[in-house]
Amino acid sequence: MNEEKQRSNPKAGQLLREILARLGSSLRGIMPEIIAIIVAFLVGGIALLATGHSPIDAYGAMIMGAFGDVFGIGQTLTQATPIIFTALSFLFASKCGLFNIGAEGQLLVGGFAAALIGISFNNLPIFIHLPLALLAGALAGGLWGFIPAVLKAKLGAHEVITTMMLSYVAFYVTGYMVNYPFKAPGWVAQTVIIAPSAQLPRILQPTQLSASIFVAVILVGLTYYTLEKTTLGYEVRAVGLNPTAAESSGISVKKGMILALVISGALAGLGGAGEVLGVHRRFIEGFSPGYGWDGLAVALIGRLHPVGVLFAAILFGALRSGGMVMTRATGVPLDIIFMLQALVVLLIAAPRMIRYLLKRGGFKW
């Protein structure tokens, strides 16, 4: 008995040391991000001082607003949720060497398709109606990824152009839909409320946090798993890293690209569906304040790793939700938050994006 204890103790100590060492090395690993965030806040502080505000008050209000109480945390996660989806969307395509900057549009069509299913049926049970609505969102987003994918595979059209242009198409088409055919009575361009059976439950009343966050977290795991553990992920990464070698080994580059863009679009589409079914309960014109673009930045800040994306999205969510509290409490304009976001992006993501583009052998338009 005694002997066993002695033997297990050093083992436990070793385990602890190992865990600490791991933590230490991963902390060191994300040092650039931490430094960038600190520098961004310092520069933001100077801007606050220059405009006659107290940085300590403003940041205090922001941090308390974002993480200070359950309500704040709920709002932070609510804001982070759609960005997790769009960041995963960008990440997945980028693993295949594709620059999908059309998550915004894929999110919009996904949201609209989900709303359409949500308002079209009234007497379906929730376990059919809700999945159906989510599926519609994923399919619509996937279709919005499929179009540029086919254009690229068949005609060589660059996905940067086509995905971006399709974002505008999505914006105006969904805008038309909710202004005319599907407009709810009233002066706001929005659909009617979706049936309760299609609504994602709110999980932290009175915040708007919905079960969409669970879908997002599951997809973080699933994305990692798909990329690292499945043959599909292997092929996608092979095509992304060296299309010529992949082709020579019998992997179809076109198939890989099409699949990657469809999955990428579906991820963003699901994000839109989550917003519509969980937060707004209807499709409102302009409900996305640019989640698609935030997703791009978040994916890069998260080092194109699903788990990194999760944390980077929470950072962005915190900036948004805390920023609103800060504005209310101290009168500091919300623009300072956008500046902070932009600075973080500038300090972390921009150098990395440039390296990424260079590595891909330049930006060919």
Partner: protein, 521 residues
């Protein structure tokens, strides 16, 4: 310093006995390897000094230290008998050292002249480029060193050999007296190599010192005065070129005797594995690259395709592998018409491919050795489980097995392929392709850029596969290689097979003539 001063080098034997470069006790370690282990390296002024060694022997590291790209962990460097701190290439250039890298550092869209003067532009009124002066300066320069090149030509239009000349001119223009040439012949055709050697000799006559890095015995013996041989980071010997033999050098490099010829089992078969009939295809610029190619490869046979590069060999391999569309003709494998099959279908039918460019086509450098070894087989049993998942245990065991069987020098199967030496990378490809039990192997420039040891290994493996009944199509610009391995030799010229000869019934002279388009049958 004006250009004219640079144009007046000291007379040839002025410094005959003095030392241009002396590196003493140089040690440089990278994580896991000692790349240079107490190396002493002395180059006399005005000599052509060969630095010979296998890939990974430490040649490039040593020269990168001399050129200021790396700092040594220990050791001293003397240039012109003065100790120097080589902290950057700028310092090296200031001290008169120039380096021509294996991969050229030219701007393709600029002209030759613009590339040469880049960073040191002569100016008129301090702002405008003095175009006339540039052109006349460079013309003088070319004449003096007998490096002929049109200063007004855009670099991307020039053949590789001429681009290399531009690199040399660039180094000279920056005032180099000591010129480091890193594997300069690896990208050249035999004719271009001859041209290069002429230029090197002319430079020597002008009093320049040249360090010639290579792993090719023949070339080092042909051009160098003295040779320093490196083996695994240490100096294995210093010899005069006139007092040694290829055998001795090879032994120094590898540490054992090297086989240059191969014993092949006599085994003949009439069974045709690959039949190509009237194959035509276009190149990337939509010009005819293959103009009706017809040949057969049989079991137990290596068919060598000789020819100067750019005569359609690359396109031929791509069409055979299904990577390029053919415009006419048919390809049969074991009697099955595979002309319209996808690459994966062809691979499944038993074609293995050792591509000419291992970084571009052969490997995914950021993948691990294991991931590279299962490439193309990842979606087949036993490497998948439950339809969609990769079976990492199986893949790992498989990779470990191949690493042993093919002696792949890697820290583990999880190491990225990028970190392996060129020879080891080629072993990964050979292991992957040969372990498929193919009916047909298409090996394209399989030993390009490899050192003696690795070359010997790859050739031996090819012969082994042939002896086991494989049909082998060997495409090589290296006539020695074709000569050493082939049972029959086809010569390719301007997109056509101009002759097919039994290896025993032809001569190097005849093949050389055919390759140059001199004789057609």
């Amino acid at each position: 310093m004006g250009l004219t001063e640079k144009l007046n080098p000291p007379p040839p034997h002025f410094f005959a006995m003095s030392i241009a470069v002396e590196m003493i006790n140089i040690t440089k370690s990278f994580p896991g390897v000692v790349a240079n282990d107490r190396i002493n390296f002395v180059v006399k002024k005005g000599e052509i000094h060969g630095l010979l060694g296998e890939n990974g022997a430490g040649k490039t590291v040593l020269m990168s230290i001399l050129y200021g790209l790396y700092r040594p962990d220990e050791g001293q460097i003397f240039v012109n008998e003065k100790e120097v701190q080589m902290d950057s290439p700028a310092t090296a250039i200031k001290l008169g050292i120039g380096m021509v890298h294996q991969h050229f550092m030219l701007v393709p869209s600029l002209t030759v002249a613009e590339n040469i003067i880049l960073g040191r532009e002569p100016k008129k009124n301090k702002v405008l480029l003095d175009t006339n002066k540039i052109l006349s300066d460079i013309k003088d320069f070319c004449d003096r060193y007998r490096l002929e090149v049109d200063p007004k030509a855009s670099v991307y239009t020039l053949p590789v050999g001429v681009q290399q000349r531009v690199e040399i001119l660039k180094a000279l223009y920056r005032g180099a007296d000591i010129l480091i040439l890193d594997e300069p012949t690896s990208v050249l055709t035999p004719q271009e190599v001859e041209e290069l050697f002429k230029a090197i000799r002319a430079l020597k006559n002008q009093g320049k010192t040249i360090i010639f890095i290579s792993h090719k015995l023949k070339e080092v013996l042909a051009i160098c005065d003295r040779i320093t041989v490196l083996k695994r980071g240490k100096v294995a010997g210093i010899v005069k070129a006139g007092e040694t033999s290829p055998g001795e050098l090879a032994e120094m490099m590898v540490g054992r005797e090297v086989v240059f010829t191969f014993e092949k089992k006599r085994a003949e078969s009439d069974e045709v594995v690959l039949r190509v009939e009237g194959l035509k295809a276009l190149n990337d610029r939509k010009l005819p690259a293959l103009k009706g190619v017809t040949f057969e490869v049989r079991k137990f046979e290596i068919l060598g395709i000789a020819g100067v590069e750019g005569n359609g060999q690359t396109e031929l391999v791509e069409v055979l592998m299904g990577l390029r569309e053919s415009t006419a003709g048919n390809i049969f494998l074991d009697g099955t018409n595979i002309t319209n099959m996808s690459p994966s279908e062809r691979i499944a039918l038993g074609i293995s491919h050792v591509p000419e460019d291992r970084h571009k086509r052969g490997l995914i450098l950021d993948f691990s050795v294991m991931e590279n070894l299962i490439l193309g087989r990842h979606n087949k049993s036993p490497f998948t489980k439950r339809w969609i998942m990769l079976n990492f245990d199986k893949a790992s065991n498989f990779a470990k097995g191949l690493i042993q069987e093919f002696s792949i020098k890697t820290p583990s199967e999880d190491a990225p392929a990028r970190h392996l030496s060129g020879g080891t990378q080629q072993r990964v490809i050979v292991a992957r392709e040969f372990s498929r039990k193919p009916k047909l192997i298409i090996a394209s420039q399989p030993t390009r850029g490899l050192d003696v040891g690795a070359t010997e290994y790859v050739r031996k493996k090819l012969v082994e596969m042939r002896d086991q009944g494989c049909a082998v199509l060997l495409i090589s610009a290296d006539l020695d290689e074709i000569w050493a391995l082939s049972d029959r030799i086809a010569v390719m010229y301007e997109g056509e097979i101009v002759a097919i000869k039994d290896a025993g019934k032809t001569s190097e002279l005849e093949l050389g003539l055919l390759m140059a388009g001199g004789k057609r049958e």
